[in-house]
Symmetry: C2
Subunit: 325 residues, 2 copies
Amino acid sequence: MDAQPLSTGPLPTFPSLLDAAARIRLHARVTPILRSDALDTAAGAQLLFKCENLQRAGAFKFRGACNAVYALDDAIAARGVATQSSGNHGAAIALACRLRGIPATVVVPEGAPKVKLDAIAGEGARIVRCAPNMRARDAAVAQVIAETGATLIHPFDHPDVIAGQGTAAMELIAAESGLDAIIAPVGGGGLLSGTSIATRALSPDTQIWGAEPEAARDAFDSLASGELIIDRVPDTICDGLRGHLSPRTFALIARDANGILLADEASICDAMRLVWTHLKLVIEPSSAVALAVVLGNPTRFSGQRIGIILSGGNIDTASLHVLLA
Amino acid sequence: MDAQPLSTGPLPTFPSLLDAAARIRLHARVTPILRSDALDTAAGAQLLFKCENLQRAGAFKFRGACNAVYALDDAIAARGVATQSSGNHGAAIALACRLRGIPATVVVPEGAPKVKLDAIAGEGARIVRCAPNMRARDAAVAQVIAETGATLIHPFDHPDVIAGQGTAAMELIAAESGLDAIIAPVGGGGLLSGTSIATRALSPDTQIWGAEPEAARDAFDSLASGELIIDRVPDTICDGLRGHLSPRTFALIARDANGILLADEASICDAMRLVWTHLKLVIEPSSAVALAVVLGNPTRFSGQRIGIILSGGNIDTASLHVLLA
């Protein structure tokens, strides 16, 4: 790849994943790995689902948030943590800060679903509303930090967050040997980056694939062109995958992952229904894209043993209606 | 209790549960036990959910079906198994017979949901349709048995089925010590009977409660009156709990369980939504009644450590709409 040098900041390494695993052990769940004969038959492959929808706060995001919050020195932690997220990272930060006993402030754009606000507020975090654009959001976060001295923990562009997310794949590989591939959804790229670091270290022969909605294919196109694309506004049911990579996650994924596979919106909804029906799990649309790319690429994965990271289960009623359509 | 002597046939004992656990070990899943801070707060108690919705074929029924199918002598098994069930037992028998490599015939009344028929047929069982009344059903089963020499495995009035169902509570008690109570839904009483036998043997200080829809309170009234009630046609969303006890399950439950608690239909739907939202699990309405009785009896269970058996996850679209209501 001929990308120009990027300013990535420090890239997390496998030892930082080991630190993360030790740091979150008392707080995060070792989530179960489930499977289904019917889904294996549908895929023509053996599928092992790492159920991060059963993680605390309903998504893998708690791993990274917990690691980053507990990695702070006491004096810095005491001033609190700030983040911007209308989604799972906000609730994860709120929970991690409650557990550590420090203040959390989450900047949330106007128009965010009430269910997400309730999840953040339910963990005791302060919510600051802002206009629904990036400039207003960044200004609000800067103001919180200026006023409180809080530390910013970004949803994915943060080495401790990436290291924490990688612990899901560490558990998957420890429990299931001989995986031919591991597949994780890609939005900002924190989960896929952490998954790649874990997999390259622990199971170097296992392929690593990102799964992305066709309607939000900025990571796919970034890898293909070698240039990080950040200027799109994707329209996909996968609300957790509308973000774009950062220079850091782009560099990690370009180095370690085998590539990105795409799935259209209809196949993502079908995959969500299949998980509901056969695994009896509530997952959010962003989680379903990984199964969708397996089912959409039968030749590539035929006969393989595949780990799939089900990233989260925080679905709102609108998405639920999709299941009934 | 002043009940007249009942013809119960042999009552399973704890050693038969140990046999069952050994017999099904290679086939059934040790299902995960999940919990949620939000549900603990809602209940004012510590709730440990034994997730039989994640069992093979989507319900605890596979434990009893598998035990009964594998308990058959080879020569008898070769002639196949017959049962009547439009629900989870039919699919469980079909799967168990497929695994053992013997024929299964399931008698299903006209009008049964297509999703259930598909589950049974998907495991390779023969389906025989009959008119939707008990006489036609019994006649159809008798004809299958006369023609094929198949062995009848009843959905709950069978010692090996009851013993198999008890293995869920065995796993729960082995994993979680110091339970104040275990709660299981009651329809025909197979699960509650097996649960009672396991609990009395392994954790004698733990209370055992059945959970029953108010709209199908035949077990509650049978225990209260001392007389087995079999002549009602209940109207409840809990399609798995519309049956009545048999003399055998009545005797076991009257002897070993602490009692039955009731929940109305609205509270059952609320409980199903709570499990969806906080445990991220798809459960069928019949499973939700156990949580509903905990939430409906806060004084009784306040501060306790409670095992709840989530019995199954085979929900149809009609029940799914309830979640959106």
